[in-house]
Subunit: 434 residues, 2 copies
């Protein structure tokens, strides 16, 4: 089980969401992270985007106004904060490979793995927003194939740096006045398509040596990158059928790369709205629906699909929607929307917000919710969920208090952490008993 | 009063230095930082180099073997650690402007200023090592003039980003479904010699809006950059005369830039070896001298002056040393060496190590030490010291327990912190009563 920050446009207005400035306040993370550790989650996932969504009406105004993944602070500053109030919880940091040179980033990630005692995961992304490339001084978005080609070289150069020290290089031999044996620290030389370097890694091997590699790409080059490098994959598929297809595809690709597909951990985004009774859970869903921002959702979805949805009439019946990207996005929302009635674009946008980006939404009492999670895992072959929270931190505490004990009773969630690093935690983690 | 990590080759072998891996261990920083706050220091200074010194014998082997500023982890990961165990202590982070684009770095620094509650300083450096440029894929070191030209554009683009939100942009108006007023967030456009960008800062203004700017350049372009941008300057001059000349020069340059030179804070590196009695303090100095690494010092000095000192015979009498860079370095060591007898290069290297890079070394009982600090401040016009620690963390605790109370009695150090940000702390800080 993993968790990420809320992706629900408008949830900041919900009376149970705590505070407006919580993302900048270390104390809020110091309250939130121990809730996840109490629930024996594998990890907290720190998403990131580098620039605001700016497709909707051709500007970032809607993303800014509705606070749609905006502001977004540098998530790396939260890693040490979370590490110091937890002992086992992994911390997944999103870092893009599309802009800088790997030399300093490899050092940063290694330093974070040291400071967390071996609990760092790196969610490798290539950045898909034109606005990010323009902010970084590029003319335009680089195509996905080339972004992943660069990501591949970036990650492999990081591996070279992380592997350049022998494990016993630090000998601290006072008699020979030798702190580190230089013969056990290799100079890294690299001349590739995207990067050149000659130098020495400044960091001794961290507890995991390489952080755990996470990936969430859904495009073909993204899936292939995941199959080659990732130890855990996050997907954002809409329902049991598409999750199952995704999982099979990524495991097949991993086997093609000569890897054991059963060791690849797969987690799908899922929103859980749980309360003591079905009725109360439905009331919570109603109250969330009343607070989401339809226009904020359109700004988010416009950014996700790269098309300005402001051009559409919100009252268009869904049967009349066409246009390749738009129709595909709508169909995905319909796939996810279950019994929620989607008749117009307005309804679709509301559902996109309510479902935190059109993943499954599970609503009910603890037994109902646990039943559905079991079905989701067993019918798809995935290893667990990336929980999309709603109001923070209370929705996480509700999940931990109401759902986790039931998952534990059924042998679907760990009772205690094992010893070791995040890599060990992940390998002993599978809700399907894999 | 500021403090930085030890720069004394070989000190890791000293029996009072704690641990070999302390730099990677968050708990060691959680012990160290509160000592400085107990001593009412302005700030902890986190130095950084990106690649090992590799002039000596044409390789990094000596720097690696003797642990000469090696390993060096990413100092930014320590900022949140230190922030969470202190309330007032500033944290100075060293970040180079020579390699990446300012857009992401401005966000990182702003995020750190948020998470520290307005206690971040940015020590702006341009990186002076060929090894760093080669590690980052460049052919060779860029000349100082161009590095500072780039630093100037880098910092000014950061200013644009930090200043692009109006202070009241976050309105969180539930009735109007508006989190942030887009009209109060400006798009930043820039097309300069080194950087281009068009985009929106992802971070609301932090408590200090701009972190405090620090600088430590000693070259002419470095001093000019400091005079233009820096709020505090760190120098590493050898004695009262050179410190006084440096301080006057930088204040004159600040005035040339239309700034009030009296608001510029100047701190010189200084090592203090204090004990209850003069005799004990001298014994500590002897024990440090017995543990420093002469060859490590040569590796450090070779890196600092860009010349391979392995070519010299260590037993050459100092009168016979010539060669422009070498003679100047030796003269500086002689300026700093006071009553320590320097007769050969071996002695000079030992002193370079013992003085943490040829700054003043003050040795004595608390009264003697305080007298010398007062003289250093009063005769040079600087505002205080950057304390170069020896063994950690004990040498800092000795300073705080033995010297700070005497400085406080004489009105040379604050009794309590005021309210406010690091910028406020610095402006009310001057040992000279400025």
């Amino acid at each position: 089980m993993h968790s990420e920050p809320p992706l629900m446009p408008g949830v900041w207005k919900h009376p149970r969401h705590r505070g407006k400035w919580e993302f900048a306040n270390p104390e809020s993370w110091e309250r939130l992270a121990p809730i996840l550790e109490r629930g024996r989650f594998d990890a907290l996932f720190l998403a990131d985007i580098l620039a605001p969504y700016d497709q909707y009406e051709g500007s970032a105004n809607a993303a800014i106004r509705y606070g749609v993944q905006f502001p977004v602070h540098d998530p790396s500053v939260l890693v040490p904060i979370v590490a110091r109030v937890t002992r086992h919880l992994g911390i997944g940091l999103t870092v893009s490979t599309s802009f800088d040179h790997p030399y300093q980033m490899a050092r940063r990630l290694s330093s974070l793995d040291h400071i967390t005692g071996g609990r760092l995961a790196w969610n490798v992304v290539t950045s898909f927003q034109s606005s990010a490339f323009q902010a970084m001084g590029e003319e335009a978005l680089v195509p996905a194939n080339e972004r992943y080609e660069r990501a591949n070289e970036y990650v492999e150069l990081c591996y070279k740096l992380w592997d350049s020290w022998e494990p016993d290089a630090v000998i601290t031999d006072q008699g020979r006045d030798t702190y580190i044996d230089p013969a056990r620290v290799q100079v890294v030389e690299h001349a590739g398509k995207f990067f050149r370097m000659k130098g020495t890694s400044m960091v001794a091997p961290s507890p995991q040596r390489r952080p755990v590699i996470w990936q969430a790409g859904s495009s073909a080059p993204g899936r292939d990158f995941a199959a080659k490098h990732a130890e855990a994959v996050f997907c954002h598929q809409a329902n049991i059928q598409s999750i199952g297809e995704y999982a099979k595809d990524v495991r097949d690709r991993a086997a093609d790369h000569g890897r054991n597909p059963e060791r690849l951990r797969i987690f799908n985004a899922c929103e859980v709205i749980v309360a003591a009774t079905t009725r109360e859970a439905e009331e919570v869903r109603e109250s969330l629906a009343a607070h989401v921002s339809v226009e904020g959702a359109l700004a988010l979805l416009s950014g996700h699909i790269g098309f300005d949805l402001a051009q559409l009439d919100l009252d268009t019946p869904i049967a009349e929607v066409d246009g390749t990207g738009v129709r595909a996005a709508l169909d995905r929302i319909l796939d996810a929307s279950q019994d929620f009635k989607v008749r117009t674009w307005r309804d679709a946008a509301q559902w996109y917000a309510l479902s935190s980006g059109a993943g499954p939404v599970i609503v009910g009492n603890p037994t109902e919710v646990t039943d559905q999670i079991e079905a989701l895992v067993d019918e798809t072959g995935i290893d667990g969920l990336m929980l999309s929270p709603t109001y923070l931190p209370e929705s996480l505490a509700e999940f931990v208090d109401l759902v986790v004990p039931e998952l534990q009773r059924r042998g679907r969630a760990r009772l205690e952490y094992g010893a070791g690093t995040l890599r060990d935690t992940l390998l002993e983690s599978s809700a399907s008993g894999r």
